[in-house]
């Protein structure tokens, strides 16, 4: 069997299995219905907010939480910030807000988001209130720029979520707060602004479309996972995996995904809801976005070590195992797919150049419509998310724009191949430390133009360089 034969067969299998996967998640996405809310007063609610140089956003976030969630206690982890983050938190603490500052200083600080969250967990457990029944205590991990929807506690207290004692964690839908910003880069031209707007919209579409559909499907397979923002966990669940060493969050690059896996392995079920959500900033810079995604892909590849535990665990159904296997294999499949898809394309191009009459004959006798069908399916399985997004999430956008977003998503998805290659390359070079993703929002007292100009040059190379320096100094980062 030749390389071409193998590639054709592999690309066919990969293509059809992806198409089947899309068909399944779209079906479940369209069938999802809101679930009844519950009474949040039966629970104690806490927010964990890891911060590192977040003065640009943390004040507004605390104000938001005070306004909509006055009953909650907030634990802000200052991971050795060099800006005014700690002062902003202390000011509110002094004013009597239910806010606690957990300070981490170098050399112990900046060792990863998981460690920062573990510090908050340990501080909370050391607090005198901690005699409360851990079954009734819910911890919500929030990014420093996170804005939860005001109904989040009611939704999560419902019988489908923490009202069910088997549920260990709930992930709420993630939305992009800056999806409607018309001029994200005031100092730049029209094209740069259009690209930035489109990028923000595509991230919103991605989270509320395909990612949401995957999570909704996981409700059936029992493998819902949690993200790093809008992640709510029952304290009893955290205790069940972390009370011994005080470290429920691991040190994987995807510490949130790792937490979800560990909870499932411990026998907890995770929930996902679109009835409540958290708004976060979309990235306006493609380089930053790719860097973030490389980190995610690498983190997913790192979690492959859990496959052995999942393999032998009774907590996963057959379908659940299959779903986790497929998800965790994705970056690896993309690497394989890159070769499998490219070889037939290159062979066809070579034949077209070398034997034009043969190629023309092929195209005239069914080849052209076949290639068109392949193209329609290949693009269509991404483009359909545009109209679906409009239908379920943003009915106000024009249909033409929705179709355009869908087509753009196909290009956006193609970038994942670059991401998979780079993540694999980093694994080969044993590089696993990262600089945290830069904020796009300006600090209150800084000219936004200056801040954006400072942030833009941080591309993958620069970030990797910074991470390398940080690792060399014995400090990881997130």
């Amino acid at each position: 069997m030749t390389l071409l034969d193998t590639s054709i067969s592999l690309s066919f299998v990969l293509g059809v299995s992806f198409l089947a996967y899309v068909a399944v998640i779209v079906r479940n996405y369209l069938r999802a219905r809101p679930r009844p809310a519950g009474d949040p007063t039966g629970f104690d609610w806490h927010f964990f907010i890891p911060c590192r140089d977040e003065e640009a956003v943390i004040g507004a976030t605390l104000d938001h939480l005070d306004r909509y969630f006055p009953q909650a206690t907030v634990w802000v982890v200052d991971d050795h910030s060099t800006d005014g983050t700690a002062e902003l938190v202390r000011a509110r603490e002094r004013a009597g807000w239910p806010v606690n500052l957990v300070s981490r200083r170098l050399p112990e600080a900046r060792t990863g988001k998981g460690d920062a969250l573990n510090a908050a967990y340990q501080a909370m457990n050391a607090d005198p209130w901690s005699g409360t029944d851990p079954e009734r205590v819910i911890v919500c991990v929030l990014d420093a720029d996170g804005r939860p929807s005001p109904n989040m506690f009611e939704v999560c207290a419902g019988d489908a979520y923490f009202g069910d004692p088997r549920i260990g964690a709930v992930q709420v839908e993630v939305r992009m707060s800056n999806r409607d910003v018309t001029t994200p880069l005031p100092a730049r031209g029209r094209i740069a602004n259009r690209c930035a707007r489109l990028l923000a919209r595509l991230q919103d579409l991605e989270f509320r479309g395909p990612i949401s559909a995957m999570q909704i499907t996981r409700r059936r397979t029992g493998t819902v996972n949690v993200g790093g923002n809008g992640q709510l966990t029952r304290l009893a669940a955290l205790d069940s995996i972390g009370l011994d060493d005080g470290r429920p969050w691991g040190r994987a690059l995807l510490e949130d995904f790792e937490l979800g896996l560990r909870l499932m392995l411990a026998g907890w079920r995770n929930g996902y809801t679109t009835d409540a959500w958290v708004d976060q900033e979309a990235l306006w810079n493609l380089r930053q976005l790719l860097t973030q995604r490389v980190r995610w892909a690498q983190g997913s590849m790192q979690c492959a070590r859990y496959m052995r535990s999942i393999w032998g665990s009774r907590e996963f159904t057959t379908l659940g195992f299959l779903e986790v296997l497929y998800f965790m294999a994705q970056p690896w499949l993309q690497l394989v797919g890159l070769v499998a898809y490219l070889v037939p394309i290159l062979a066809f191009s070579y034949n077209a150049a070398t034997y034009p009459r043969f190629t023309l004959d092929f195209l005239q006798h069914g080849g052209a419509p076949l290639l068109l069908i392949y193209l329609l399916i290949g693009v269509g399985e991404f483009a359909l998310w545009g109209p679906l997004y409009r239908r379920r999430c943003e009915p106000g956008i024009p249909l033409r724009a929705a179709l355009g977003y869908g087509l753009a998503l196909a290009l956006y998805a193609a970038a994942t191949y670059v991401v998979a290659v780079r993540a694999f390359w980093r694994i080969l070079r044993r590089k696993d430390s990262w600089h945290k993703t830069a904020r796009t929002a300006p600090p209150p007292h800084v000219d936004p133009i200056d801040l954006i100009d400072l942030g833009d040059p941080l591309g993958p190379v620069d970030l990797a360089h910074l991470a390398d320096r940080s690792a060399a100094a014995g400090r990881g980062s997130y």
């Binding site: 034969d5 059809v16 011994d244 026998g267």
Partner: protein, 201 residues
Amino acid sequence: MTTETSSLAGPSSWTTHRHGPAAGRTTALGRVFGPVLLGTSGLLVAGEHFYRHQELTAAAWLVEHLLGLRTMLLAGPNAPVLYAGTEAGLHRGIALTAGCSSAMLMAPFALLTGLLLLFSTRRPVRLLRAFAVAAAILVATNLGRLTLIVAMQHHLGEAGFSWAHVLLGSVLMMAAALAAFLLYLRIVARKPAHDGEEPEQ
């Protein structure tokens, strides 16, 4: 519920079992058929040339009995070739390459089923059934496709052959593979009746 403190504690008390990773839940059926399916997957890849010959032999039988045509099967060095026609003569031969065989489509199903059988599961019969259904769809469709190609070649000549081979056959196999995947998942996902697996949400 009492909060467990071991690293694998959790709400397993609801399900009245305690266990950790590698709990050894593979059933006897799984221990037998898991390796068999994994071996089948390997054989389908390693012995795909032999498989193709058998597949084309079956196609020749169908062509003879369904279309009433005379056939001749040659074992070429790279691919078996099927000639079909009437007493007056045979048409151009159809070579069955690896990319046109159902072997490479069944191999992933066999691999996956073998893994899942070894993974566990208290539903081995269901997995075997899912594999059988998927394999049957793929084999039957590919045989149907080959027969269709011969039929169109016989009735419409070279153009019929080209359109059936390039367009109709490809679309048919794509639809069949999609149906096989979806049916496979549906059979595996069906809510358990009496095999003891946890009910799904």
